[in-house]
Symmetry: C2
DNA sequence: GGATGCATATTGTCCGGACAAATCGCCTGA
DNA sequence: TCAGGCGATTTGTCCGGACAATATGCATCC
């Protein structure tokens, strides 16, 4: 009773004249069918060879589409059995959140207040974190993130100078990561550490909390696609108003 | 100066009689060459077609090997340029840790004390989290994790009864996830939420902390490969002794 | 009735080739 | 000297096929 009958034939519309790859078109339509409920959880997808024939594609192309959804955690393949939709309560794996803080705050009327935005020589600690020489110019950024008009987090970031032009007004409007992407910096990976501690007097005042209140701390080092360090940050969140949520995928 | 000359020819030994796939053999040897330093960061890998010819493999096979390392974040491919080793300070991406708590505690003389291990009817909250009917039998597990002889975390877990036989002695020796894997349960994904709060009197006593000390809280729902919920847990960590560290990979 | 073995279905691996798209360097021309 | 175009290089996409490995269900045999 866990596996349903092989799914009925869904019609996927593929556009061979489009510049977007066929396997990607198929993957997107499969994903939307799953999210939409047209493909029920636990249902079999029908074998690849037949599916390929029906869509006028080759098996490798169909496999590439399916594989991308397997990597996303939406499908599971079992040899000798077939490919079935994962029977998950949580729709939309949400992927890796908490990298784009902005996204989580979406729908919560978020706002950012830039408290500091200047170039300074790097301290020993910052230089080590960024992998540059001590005393090199770095952009120092201090921001206060607000939701519903109340402080939620205090963000302190350091970037190698010359990497980017950071206009304060634009920063408050669009966010740091969006500006980096616009500048041609493609983020690749980030190393994070999440901890907690009690608020000091200064921190409490800045975040409108009481002294000793629980705070979430996060340190992050971000790398671009070539492995260069492009950002180092220390963030402090009010635990009463914020939590990190994310999904882990276990590689088989 | 960022890209070195095309890497010299490394000799990879492929065993066609082995049951382990060729692309996997190649991927492993490439990875070890990278970790080992034989392939310097930033160096080009040489084009796929030539590499395939030199190894006596087809291009799809070589591509499959390379792609797996790209997914791991060790390599970067650029059309018209080539494939190069990512120039990363952090060797070993560490992948997704914090799922196997045990692994992090490794080398810290970890120990586990099982405080509770019994079957009980599920409360409304637990039933909802596990996606089962209220009142169904669930295994209730309470454990204290110690390092260096001091408490580090208090772990409370719930599992659907009948899924697994949990021997207390073995649990203290090997850990929950290892026992689940031994029982044929293959973990697939998990949804986590990390927050913080101040310790209550009871919590402080249990963890040998002072009242009001900062605690890290973690809630997790784990799914097996078919999407079934196999575990729900609420964990509390002493912030003074623990932090979550992990690496995020941004999907392009 | 139960265990063993076989046929079938399905994905996993691998091959060889073809053309398109993007990037970079070089050459030409103004 | 600088701008633009051209070609070479390399990865991206896609095809068609072949055989192997694994899981399932059925028939047979004890």
């Amino acid at each position: 009773m866990t596996t349903s009958a092989p799914s009925s034939s869904l019609d996927f519309a593929l556009d061979r004249t489009s510049p977007v790859p066929l396997y990607y078109q198929l993957a997107q339509q499969l994903e939307s069918a799953i999210e939409h409920g047209a493909l029920a959880p636990g249902s079999l997808l029908g074998n690849e060879i037949e599916l390929a024939g029906r869509l006028g594609l080759s098996r490798p192309t169909v496999r590439q589409a399916i594989q991308s959804l397997v990597d996303k955690g939406l499908l599971v393949r079992r040899r000798g059995v077939g490919t079935q939709v994962v029977h998950s309560q949580v729709k939309r794996p949400l992927e890796l959140s908490s990298l784009y803080d902005d996204l989580e705050a979406a729908g919560q009327s978020p706002a950012t207040r830039v408290l500091r935005n200047e170039v300074q020589p790097a301290s020993a600690e910052v230089a080590a974190a960024l992998g540059i020489a001590e005393g090199s110019d770095v952009i120092v950024l201090e921001r206060l993130r607000l939701t519903h008009g109340q402080p939620m987090a205090f963000l302190c970031n350091f970037l190698p100078a010359g990497l980017l032009q950071l206009d304060t007004a634009k920063l408050e409007a669009t966010g740091l990561y969006r500006m980096m992407r616009s500048a041609g910096i493609t983020l690749h990976s980030a190393r994070q550490s999440i901890g907690a501690r009690c608020a000091t007097v200064d921190e409490a005042e800045r975040l409108e909390e009481t002294e000793g209140a629980a705070l979430l701390t996060m340190q992050r080092t971000a790398y671009d696609s070539t492995g260069r360090i492009v950002e180092y940050g220390t963030h402090i969140y009010r635990a009463s108003r914020y939590a990190f949520e994310f999904q882990l995928l276990v590689r088989s």
